[in-house]
C-alpha cells in the first residue's frame, strides 16, 4: 500500500516537472522574447543649436544603437542659462533617464548641482572639467593643449609684432577657460600685443555678435582668437556685417568655421574629434567597465587645420563628417 502511494507521488512529481519544462520550452520557442526595456541616455548640451552637436550625437548614437539603448538630445533655449540646464537635468532624472551625458554651460554650477543630487545613474561630462571628484567621468579633448596648439600656430604664422585679440566669452565653461589659458601660455611674449575682448571690458549685455562687432570697431587688431563654436560663428558674422576682414584663429567645429577656413577669414582652425567624444561618452554611460577596459588609453584627437591641408585624407574625415 505504502509502495503504491510512493509511486503515485512520484508520478505526480514527474508530471509536474514535465509540465513545467514544456511551459518553459513553449516560452523560449514560441513566445516573443520579453525584451528588456531599452536604456535611455539623455544628452544634455548647452546652446540652442542642435546641429552643432550633430557629429557628437552621431558618435553616441552609434554606441546606443549597438547596445539597444535610446538616445535623446536636449538643447537649451539660450546659450548659457545654467538654471535652464539644471531644470532639463532635473526633468530627465525624474523621467527616469538611465544615464546622463552633459555638456555643462557652466562647469562649476552644473557640477555642484549634479554632486548634490548624489545620482545613482552614470553621469558623463562631455566637456573638460577642472574640479573632478573621484568617480566623475569627463570625456573631452585636452583643451589646454588645443589652446596651446592654436597659440603656437599664431606664433608660427604671424609676425612677432602682431596684435592678437582674445575673445573671452563663455569662460564659465572650463573647456573655454583652459583653451584660453593654453593659448595665452603659448603666445605670451611672442606676439606684439594681446588685447582682451570680454563683455566686462565692454560692459554690455547684448549678444555675442554685437559685443564683438563693438570690439572690432573699437580696437584695431590683426588677429582675432575665438575658443568655441558660437563665438567663432559670431566673429565671422560680425566681420561680414562690418564688411571687414581679419585673421581669425579659432577652436571650433561649426560648419561655418570650416567653410570660412577655405574661403575667408579663418586662418587656422583647431578641430576636436567630437564624434569620438560622443562615442566614448555613450560607451562610458552604458558600460563603463567595458569602456575602461577597452578605451582607457584612448585620447580624443584634435587637428590644427589650415586651408592648405583641410582636404588631406586624414583631415577631411574629421572636418567633413558623414552626417546622416
Amino acid at each position: 500500500m505504502k509502495r503504491i502511494r510512493e509511486n503515485k507521488s512520484l508520478l505526480f512529481v514527474v508530471i509536474l516537472l514535465i509540465a513545467f519544462l514544456l511551459t518553459y520550452i513553449y516560452q523560449i520557442n514560441f513566445e516573443t522574447v520579453d525584451e528588456k526595456e531599452p536604456k535611455h541616455v539623455s544628452m544634455i548640451v548647452y546652446g540652442d543649436d542642435a546641429e552643432r552637436w550633430e557629429n557628437m550625437r552621431d558618435g553616441a548614437l552609434l554606441v546606443c544603437e549597438e547596445r539597444g539603448a535610446q538616445l535623446s538630445l536636449f538643447t537649451m533655449l539660450s546659450e548659457n542659462d545654467a538654471q535652464e540646464q539644471k531644470e532639463i537635468i532635473e526633468r530627465e532624472i525624474e523621467d527616469g533617464a538611465d544615464a546622463l551625458m552633459i555638456a555643462p554651460c557652466n562647469s562649476k554650477e552644473i557640477k555642484e548641482f549634479i554632486d548634490q543630487k548624489r545620482l545613482r545613474i552614470p553621469v558623463v561630462y562631455i566637456e573638460s572639467m577642472e574640479d573632478m571628484s573621484l568617480g566623475d567621468k569627463s570625456i573631452a579633448t585636452d583643451d589646454y593643449a588645443m589652446g596651446r596648439a592654436l597659440g603656437e600656430e599664431i606664433v608660427e604664422s604671424e609676425s612677432d609684432i602682431v596684435t592678437v585679440a582674445i575673445i573671452s566669452e563663455n569662460t564659465e565653461r572650463d573647456s573655454v577657460s583652459l583653451r584660453e589659458k593654453g593659448l595665452r601660455d603659448a603666445i605670451e611674449g611672442k606676439v606684439g600685443k594681446i588685447i582682451n575682448w570680454s563683455r566686462n571690458e565692454y560692459k554690455t549685455n547684448s549678444n555675442t555678435r554685437m559685443f564683438i562687432q563693438r570690439a572690432i570697431v573699437s580696437e584695431a587688431t590683426d588677429v582675432i582668437v575665438a575658443f568655441d563654436n558660437s563665438t567663432t560663428d559670431a566673429v565671422l558674422d560680425a566681420l561680414t556685417n562690418l564688411n571687414k576682414t581679419s585673421k581669425v584663429y579659432s577652436i571650433s567645429t561649426s560648419n561655418k568655421a570650416v567653410y570660412n577656413l577655405y574661403n575667408k577669414e579663418i586662418k587656422a582652425l583647431v578641430y576636436p574629434d567630437e564624434f569620438s567624444m560622443g562615442y566614448l561618452s555613450a560607451m562610458y554611460a552604458l558600460d563603463s567597465s567595458y569602456a575602461s577596459r577597452k578605451y582607457s588609453r584612448k585620447k580624443i584627437e584634435y587637428r590644427t587645420v589650415r586651408k592648405e591641408n583641410m582636404y588631406d585624407e586624414e583631415n577631411q574625415t574629421l572636418l567633413f563628417p558623414f552626417v546622416d
Binding site: V14, I25, L62, V258, S276, T317, L318
Partner: protein, 608 residues
C-alpha cells in the same frame, strides 16, 4: 595505469552488490540512457549549430551577390554616363567653337539623384565644361587632385576613387558632398588637333551608402565595401573606424579571394564572405560575428537541454516502472523466502504455502521449484527430527539402563550386608524401601515424574543408605511444596546423594551431614544436594561433568555425568548440573531445571 581504473571499477562493483536488483536495473538503464541522450543531444546540437552557421553564411552570400549586382549596375550606369558624355558628346565636338555644356547639363539633370557633378578639363587643369554650373573654388588646382592624376597616368582605364569631399566648386550654405570620383582620360579636339583631357563624373556617395545601409538594416552581421587596396569605401562603422575607435580587418579582406572563410579578429570569431565587384575591383565583404549567432545557438541549446531533460525524466520514470514490474515478483519471492528463514530460525513451522508464486513464468517456475524444495526439505527435516528423537530416546534409555544395575548393585549389596549381620528388620525395611524405590523408578515407564516422587525416591534411598552406613551421617530434605508438582527427569537426585555419601560423608563417623533442598528461583527450579565432606580438588572438579568422569574411581563412575547428560538431552539450554566445592568444607551439587508443571508437560508430550 590499470590501477587507476580498477579502484573506481571495484567501487562501482561493490556498490552494485549492495543494491537491490530494481535499483541496479534502474540505475544501469538510466546511466545508459543519459550517455545515449547526451551523445545524441551533443551531436544534434553540433549539427544544428553548423547548419545555422552554414545557412547564415549562405544567406549572406546571397545578400553579397545581390549587393554586388546592385553595385555593379550602379557603377555601370555611372560608367554609361561617362561613356555617353565622352563618345556621344566630347569626341564629336570641335571644342574651339562648340560647347558641350548643354549636353552635359542634360546628362546631369537626368542622373542628378546619383551624381554630384560632371567636369571635363584639359590636361592643364582648365575646366572645359562642368555641370551643375557653379563657382569654382579659388586656388583649386585640378592637377593635384588624385582622380586627375590617375586619369592622366593611366589613360586607357576608367578610375574610381575612394570617397572624398568634392572640393572643386563652392557650395553655398556651408554644404559639402562626399563623392566617389569616376575619372578617365579623354581626347579633346581643338581645330582638328587632339589634346588629352580628363572627364570626371562625381558619383554621390550617399547612393552607395544607402545601398549598403538598406542591406545592413536588420539581419545578422554587416556588409562593407573596400577597394582592392583595402581602403574603406563604405562601412557601417566608418566614422568610428576613421576615429580609430573600431578596427576592421579590411587590408586582409581586400587581398582575399572571393568566397567564405572564418577568422579571428579583435578577439572575435567571425565568418567572412568576400565578393569582388566587376570592373572596379572593389570588394563587398560580409562579416558575421559568431557572437551574433549566439542567441540562436543559445535558444537551440536551451531547447535541446529541455527536451533531453524531459526525455530523461520519462526514461528514468519508465525504467523505474519497468524495473519495478520485473523485479517485484522476485522481491516478493525473496521476501517470502526471508520470512521462511526467519520462521525456521524462530523454530516456527516451515510452511511452503507462504512462498510467493507470481510474475513472469520464469519467476513462477522458480517459486514453484523453491516450494517443492521446501516441501522436500520439510519432509527430510521431519524425518531427521524423528530419527533424532528416536536416537535421543535410545540414548536416554541406554543411560537409564546404566543407572539401574548400578543402583541395584549398591542396594542389594546393602541388603546382603544386613542379612549377613542378622539385621532382618532393617533388611525388611530396606527391601520395602527398595520396592518403593523401584516402583518410582519404573513409573510406568515414564522418564519424567513429579519432583514430589523424585524426592520420595531420594528419601527412600537415603533411608536405605543410612541403614547401610549405620547412621554415619545425618540427612535432611527441604523442598518447597510449590515445586513438588513440577516435572523432572526421574532418578537424578539419587545419584547425587550416592556421590555425597561415597565421596563426602562415608568416612566421617557420624559427623557427616547431607542436605537436600528444592526451591524456585528466577522462574527455574533448583534442587541442591550438599555435604560437608572433604570437598573435591579443583582439577577433579573441572572434569566431573566431562566424558572422562565416567571412568573414575568408585562405583560405576557414571553418576554426575549421567545426570547432567540426561537433563541436557531433555531440556537443553542452560539446564543441567552446577558443582560448587570447597576443600575440607564440603560440596554442593545443584540441579537446574525448567519450571514446567508435570501436567502441562504430559499434555505437550501427548500432543506430539
Amino acid at each position: 595505469m590499470l590501477e587507476i581504473f580498477s579502484k573506481p571499477v571495484n567501487f562501482i562493483k561493490e556498490g552494485y552488490k549492495k543494491r537491490s536488483l530494481q535499483w541496479t536495473i534502474s540505475l544501469s538503464y538510466t546511466a545508459i540512457s543519459i550517455i545515449s541522450i547526451a551523445t545524441l543531444a551533443i551531436a544534434f546540437y553540433s549539427h544544428s549549430i553548423n547548419t545555422i552557421r552554414e545557412n547564415t553564411i549562405k544567406e549572406n552570400e546571397q545578400i553579397v551577390d545581390q549587393v554586388g549586382w546592385n553595385l555593379n549596375s550602379y557603377i555601370r550606369s555611372m560608367m554609361g554616363i561617362s561613356d555617353t558624355m565622352y563618345y556621344s558628346v566630347i569626341k564629336n565636338r570641335n571644342l574651339t567653337n562648340e560647347r558641350i555644356n548643354k549636353e552635359m547639363n542634360l546628362l546631369y539633370e537626368a542622373n542628378k539623384d546619383n551624381l554630384t557633378g560632371i567636369v571635363c578639363a584639359t590636361e592643364d587643369g582648365a575646366i572645359v565644361a562642368a555641370s551643375p554650373v557653379s563657382a569654382r573654388k579659388a586656388g583649386v588646382d585640378l592637377k593635384k587632385q588624385e582622380w586627375f592624376q590617375k586619369a592622366v597616368d593611366e589613360i586607357e582605364n576608367i578610375h574610381f576613387s575612394t570617397p572624398h569631399v568634392q572640393n572643386i566648386f563652392d557650395n553655398s550654405n556651408y554644404r559639402y558632398f562626399w563623392v566617389v570620383s569616376l575619372s578617365r582620360s579623354v581626347e579633346l579636339t581643338y581645330l582638328g588637333n587632339v589634346r588629352n583631357g580628363v572627364l570626371l563624373v562625381d558619383m554621390n556617395y550617399s547612393g552607395i551608402e544607402q545601398m549598403f545601409e538598406t542591406v545592413n538594416d536588420g539581419g545578422v552581421g554587416f556588409v562593407y565595401l573596400c577597394d582592392s587596396d583595402g581602403n574603406i569605401i563604405y562601412h557601417p562603422m566608418q566614422k568610428a573606424i576613421y576615429a580609430d575607435l573600431v578596427k576592421e580587418n579590411n587590408l586582409v579582406h581586400a587581398k582575399h579571394q572571393d568566397g567564405a572563410f572564418s577568422e579571428r579578429f579583435d578577439g572575435q570569431e567571425r565568418d567572412v564572405v568576400v565578393k569582388t565587384v566587376g570592373y572596379t575591383g572593389w570588394k563587398i565583404i560580409s562579416v558575421i560575428p559568431t557572437s551574433e549567432l549566439a542567441i540562436d545557438m543559445g535558444n537551440m541549446r536551451n531547447y535541446l537541454f529541455m527536451v533531453a531533460i524531459i526525455v530523461l525524466i520519462l526514461i528514468v520514470f519508465g525504467n523505474y516502472i519497468i524495473s519495478y514490474v520485473v523485479t517485484d515478483p522476485i522481491r516478493k519471492l525473496e521476501e517470502s523466502i526471508a520470512d521462511l528463514e526467519e520462521g525456521v530460525s524462530n523454530e516456527d513451522v516451515m510452511n511452503e504455502d507462504d512462498i510467493f508464486i507470481g510474475g513472469s513464468h520464469e519467476i513462477r517456475h522458480l517459486g514453484r521449484t523453491i516450494k517443492s524444495m521446501i516441501r522436500q526439505m520439510k519432509k527430510l527435516t521431519d524425518e531427521m527430527v524423528r530419527e533424532q528423537k528416536a536416537k535421543r530416546k535410545s540414548e536416554l534409555d541406554a543411560l537409564q539402563s546404566q543407572i539401574n544395575p548400578h543402583f541395584l548393585y549398591n542396594t542389594l549389596d546393602s541388603v546382603v550386608w544386613m542379612i549377613e549381620g542378622e539385621r532382618y528388620r532393617d533388611a525388611i525395611s530396606m527391601v520395602t524401601a527398595l520396592a518403593q524405590l523401584f516402583r518410582i523408578s519404573l513409573s510406568k515407564g515414564n522418564n519424567i515424574i513429579s519432583i514430589h516422587d523424585e524426592i520420595v525416591h531420594a528419601r527412600n534411598y537415603l533411608n536405605i543408605q543410612m541403614v547401610r552406613y549405620k547412621n554415619k551421617f545425618t540427612a535432611s530434605i527441604d523442598v518447597d511444596p510449590a515445586i513438588e508438582d513440577c516435572a523432572t527427569i526421574k532418578l537424578i537426585v539419587q545419584p547425587l546423594l550416592e556421590n555425597a555419601i561415597y565421596y563426602g560423608v562415608e568416612h566421617m563417623d557420624g559427623e557427616g551431614e547431607i542436605k537436600v533442598r528444592g526451591y524456585e528461583k528466577d522462574g527455574d527450579i533448583y534442587i541442591s544436594v550438599s555435604d560437608n565432606g572433604m570437598g573435591i580438588p579443583e582439577e577433579t572438579l573441572a572434569t566431573l561433568l566431562t566424558d572422562k568422569a565416567r571412568s573414575r574411581g568408585k562405583g560405576s563412575g557414571i553418576g554426575l555425568w549421567n545426570v547432567n547428560q540426561r537433563i541436557q538431552i531433555y531440556f537443553k539450554g542452560d539446564y543441567g548440573l552446577m558443582i560448587d566445592s570447597v576443600l575440607d568444607e564440603g560440596t554442593t551439587v545443584t540441579i537446574h531445571l525448567p519450571k514446567i508443571p508435570l501436567e502441562e508437560y504430559q499434555k505437550e508430550e501427548g500432543g506430539r
